[in-house]
């Protein structure tokens, strides 16, 4: 079996929503160069709905595919629904990720949360802080051995 599902390869080869939104309402960036994965999500929000979403990702095939899939899953959706997106849902939508690549889907979930939080903060919108835990440290991700 190949490392990646056909869905992952499709989203990696033809990533959806790649780009930058210059006048974004919310921007979220997670990960770091040391670990080799950085995900940045840009949101355009109107009346509580994600009108547009773009991403830029430095990372492996599954990181790019996870970004692409996650942005597709939240585009046109209300913020409340986007906040419910879990990394598991992203991975499932991609027909699964290899165990050691699951952290890529976690990054996608966290990047979206970070972007929504940024939007709330910028606009002085009250929100439930417990909904926005600090992004994971890379050290917590599963490694072999």
């Amino acid at each position: 079996m190949a490392l990646y599902s056909e869905k992952v390869m499709d989203h990696f080869t033809n990533p959806r929503n790649v780009g930058v939104i210059e006048d974004a309402d919310g921007v979220g960036e997670v990960g770091n160069a040391v670990c080799g994965d950085i995900m940045k999500i840009y949101l355009k929000i109107k009346d509580g709905i994600i009108e547009d979403v773009k991403f830029k990702t430095f990372g492996c095939g599954s990181a790019i595919a996870s970004s692409s899939m996650a942005t597709e899953m939240i585009k046109g959706k209300p913020l409340s629904q986007a906040l419910e997106l879990t990394n598991k849902a992203v991975a499932e939508a991609l027909d699964g990720l290899p165990a050691h690549k699951m952290h890529c889907s976690v990054l996608a979930e966290e990047a979206i949360r970070a972007a929504i939080k940024d939007y709330y903060d910028k606009n002085g919108i009250e929100y439930d802080k417990s909904q926005f835990p600090e992004p994971h440290d890379e050290e917590e991700h599963p490694t072999e051995e």
């Binding site: 160069a33 080799g36 492996c60 790019i64 952290h103």
Partner: protein, 404 residues
């Protein structure tokens, strides 16, 4: 340019040569006996074994009885290092000198020995991927029982001054082992001239079959066993001999040695043409010394372009390569080889290894030079890190707008 398949991952493994396959076929069909059997079919197999050992020895510059056949390079590394360690321990010498960028077959064996009470000094390699014999000399102590330094590195292809290191070890009376898995069949290797006491090699790196290798152990050095059982390999390696594999390996080594100089000359030109061409990609850099490297090895980093993504997009263009990026392994750490050069993580993650063999053509190089810059651009266009370099948010780490 028309799409083609370019296999440029020859440090991982090579395609088998026709000559090796032809040497193997009769061993499956006709000479299938067990060399330990006394009947005619067994003895025919034994003859193949004897003949191959002589021919391998001739190519490596040693005596036939100094060659032991193994299942590959990893086993050979394990057995050589463990043997030297055991010898040392008997004399109360429990210190080993090696380098930080050895193959894991060496590093993990050394890790185990550490748990068994040995002390290991791993020399740092310079940022060009080389160490000096004098650095080895300085690390040797009265209780040093072994120096093990790879002949040529599997990722960046740098070739160590093996002969000089061997001379230092002789002077100091320390056993010298070299993992020559990437070197044998690619550059001249001669255990006598190179002052080597023990050497490991693997057939599938020079167009032989997988699952077979050999070790050289200088006469007078007692080898200890890893695999207990029958008396094969003079009692040093049990298990019915892989006659077909050994015949294939021998044929492949002879073929590689017969064409060694012409292959080296041709591959060096192709390598340098690739490096020159790829250096034109802005913010790229060569990893490892430009001259003292294997004829077929190119290892470069491209700022902001993560390695696994590079491999996958290159693969979509028909180009088969590898990377030292963490994402190509199960851990999140980039290659220990690239890190040992002192590269920052983000540069090590963005590496691409292209390893050519005589099976590659100038057209393969043309094709890669046309496609790879586009592959790098494609990955950078998706990359948030690249955006940060371009906007000046973070400083570039690899020099020059357009190097070369």
């Amino acid at each position: 340019m028309e799409k083609r398949t370019v296999y440029a991952d020859n440090a991982a493994t090579t395609a088998m040569s026709m000559r090796a396959i032809e040497a193997m076929t009769p061993c499956f069909m006709k000479i299938y006996g067990n060399p330990s059997s006394l009947h005619s079919i067994g003895q025919e197999a034994k003859e193949v074994l004897v003949d191959c050992r002589e021919r391998m020895a001739a190519r490596l510059g040693c005596k036939p009885e100094e060659i032991y056949f193994t299942s590959g390079g990893s086993e050979a590394d394990n057995q050589c290092i463990r043997s030297a360690a055991l010898l040392g321990a008997r004399k109360g010498k429990r210190h080993i000198v090696s380098t930080a960028f050895e193959h894991h077959a060496v590093l993990h064996t050394l890790d185990k020995l550490k748990k068994e009470g040995f002390e290991v000094t791993l020399l740092d390699v310079h940022n060009n991927g080389l160490i000096t014999a004098e650095e080895v000399r300085a690390a040797i102590r009265p209780d040093t029982c072994l120096v093990t330094v790879m002949y040529a590195n599997n990722e960046i292809g740098t070739i160590q001054p093996i002969r000089e290191i061997g001379r230092v070890c002789r002077e100091m009376g320390v056993i010298f082992h070299t993992d020559a898995v990437q070197a044998v069949g690619h550059i001249p290797v001669n255990v006598a001239e190179d002052n080597v006491d023990m050497l490991s090699l693997s057939a599938h790196k020079f167009h032989g079959p997988k699952g077979v290798g050999a070790l050289y152990c200088k006469k007078g050095l007692p080898l200890s066993t890893l695999i207990e059982g029958g008396a094969q390999e003079r009692g040093k390696r049990a298990g019915t001999e892989n006659i077909a594999g050994i015949a294939g390996m021998t044929a492949a080594l002879e073929e590689a040695c017969e064409h060694l100089e012409e292959n080296m000359e041709r591959l060096t030109k192709m390598r340098d043409r690739l490096i020159e061409g790829l250096k034109k990609i802005p913010y790229s850099g060569l990893n490892g010394d430009a001259k003292r490297r294997l004829p077929g090895n190119v290892n470069m980093s491209f700022e902001g372009a993560e390695g696994e993504s590079l491999i996958l997009y290159a693969s979509a263009e028909g180009i088969c390569l590898s990377s030292g990026s963490a994402c190509t392994t199960a851990s999140l750490q980039p290659s220990h080889v690239l890190m040992s050069l002192g590269l920052p993580h983000e540069v090590a993650h963005c590496s691409l290894r292209i390893t050519l063999a005589d099976t590659n053509s100038e057209e393969d190089v043309d094709y890669m030079l046309e496609k790879l810059p586009k592959v790098v651009e494609r990955v950078r266009n998706i990359s948030s890190l690249w955006d940060d370099y371009v906007s000046g948010k973070i400083p570039h780490v690899l020099g020059g707008k357009t190097q070369g």
